[in-house]
Symmetry: C2
Subunit: 293 residues, 2 copies
């Protein structure tokens, strides 16, 4: 088997963004401009890049974007005050505090302070509960939402399929499992993790593999059943002397050896990555709609 | 294999109740009497039995019990008003509205109206989120909490074990899966359900089977791996002409044929059933402690 399908995250993200652009235009015609506020505390270079990309994507699509950059020494109280102002601001429908904040910040408390109706990251407990309770008014975290969309775009039947999610974080693993097992998706879902015995054997059962552990190229060819669909959520930097900046990006899946066994697979980069920002835009649109309904 | 262990839910429940009795005495010595309010709307005979048992167990353990019975024609607004009064009542630490209420009642809205700090059933979205987020200040639904306790009492190692949960309800299946996969429990968890393909094969992988589907004797001997541990959450009434009231209770597991293959199994009745009320008492104690801390 080697005519595997590469699931093109850039292309799918572009079509999601086209939807958002069109729906934004409609909303604007009704007098509502969806607005996203992204708060960056400190100087983390990767965070700066992400925040910049979110800001640019908003502008490109016609959303209102507000980028708030705060110094590293911002206190918890100051950050809470910023969140509360954004909660009250009628121009803002989505609020995101870029993770990770500096170490002295209690991130959980910040998340709980965000108005759940504006929590476009989907991390507020109220949205976590809505996901578990299959209440569509909640916001689904962007990365698992994007992964589901990639499965749909590739025509993958989830109903009755065996899905194995490797990783049990609240950012990806658990929400992904909840989405896959929800009514309508109807997959048989196994959540495996660092304490699982014989991960390769568990993974080999899967019709759909979701790798979300953050360990470069952990999933090898002999972990994957021929004809499986593989969604690689990992984005790991590994040193590479031949690369111009000294590193390259790699997923949690050993792509070169796994891909030929798959029916379909997402590459890294260019797979799940571009979907995350696209789903954030979609969530912001949903927030604007729900808040102005 | 036939020297399987019958996990004695009555005995484990009795020891949980002994803990609650002792801790209640301590709390009372500090001036706090844990109080549980159980609200019954209508005349459902099974609900009457359950509510009576909860009331008696409270009294027996030294908790303050308030049983509120309301007529079938109670309106949503009237029931909400009762809940709000109980929310505000300092003598009451736990509130439970017996399920199912009459059909004209919106049960979800009632659950959301309960102060989450008094939601000893663990069904309020805030407690659902705490379970997913592994926040121990939340209340865990009584049946899955009781099932976890039965596993612990039988000395079952969950870490690295393969657990298969059959059923994906928010009352049992999903919370059970979240408990089993949480840090500290560390099981590899598969959630299977009516849409799963080849349930017997999925079930045969399990070191731990949790049957929570509500289909009498669905799990057969050839579904179970020799040496597995089986927790049968089902309580089904099946017609039985030889029984004096015309029916008998049976679980989701074909006990007679499955038990000899197991390392350990819960019977029905006398397995998970008695644990549910015991864990309710434990949750009420936790509520009293947290509210008076």
């Amino acid at each position: 088997m080697s005519d595997f399908k590469i699931i093109d995250g850039k292309a799918v993200a572009a079509s999601v963004l086209d939807e958002v652009r069109a729906e934004t235009a409609e909303l604007k015609a009704r007098g509502v401009t969806p607005g996203l506020a992204v708060v960056l505390v400190g100087e983390d270079p990767a965070s700066k890049v992400y925040v910049g990309a979110k800001d640019r994507t908003c502008r490109d699509l016609g959303l209102y974007s507000r980028k708030i950059t705060l110094p590293t020494e911002t206190t918890q109280e100051e950050l809470l005050a910023v969140v509360r102002e954004l909660n009250a601001d009628p121009l803002i429908h989505g609020i995101l505090v870029q993770s990770p904040p500096p170490k002295h910040i209690n991130e959980e408390e910040i998340i709980r302070a965000i108005d759940p109706r504006k929590d476009v990251d989907g991390f507020h407990p109220q949205n976590v509960a809505k996901l578990a309770l299959e209440d569509p008014s909640g916001f689904v975290p962007c990365t698992p939402a994007g992964s589901m969309r990639l499965l749909a775009s590739a025509g993958v039947q989830t109903s009755g399929a065996e899905a194995v999610v490797i990783g049990r974080s609240m950012i990806v693993g658990k929400p992904m499992a909840l989405l896959l097992m929800a009514k309508g998706s109807d997959a048989t879902v196994t959540v495996a993790h660092s304490r699982s015995k014989d991960l390769p054997a568990i993974c080999r059962r899967a019709d759909i593999v979701i790798a979300a552990v953050g360990r470069p190229e952990m999933v090898k060819a002999d972990w994957v059943k021929p004809g499986a669909v593989v969604i690689d959520v990992g984005i790991n930097r590994v040193e590479d002397a031949t690369a111009k900046n000294g590193y390259r990006l790699t997923g949690d899946v050993a792509y070169d050896e796994v891909a030929p066994k798959c029916a379909a697979i997402t590459p890294v980069p260019g797979g799940v990555g571009p979907m995350t920002i696209a789903m954030l835009m979609k969530n912001t649109l949903q927030a604007a709609r729900q808040l102005t309904a």
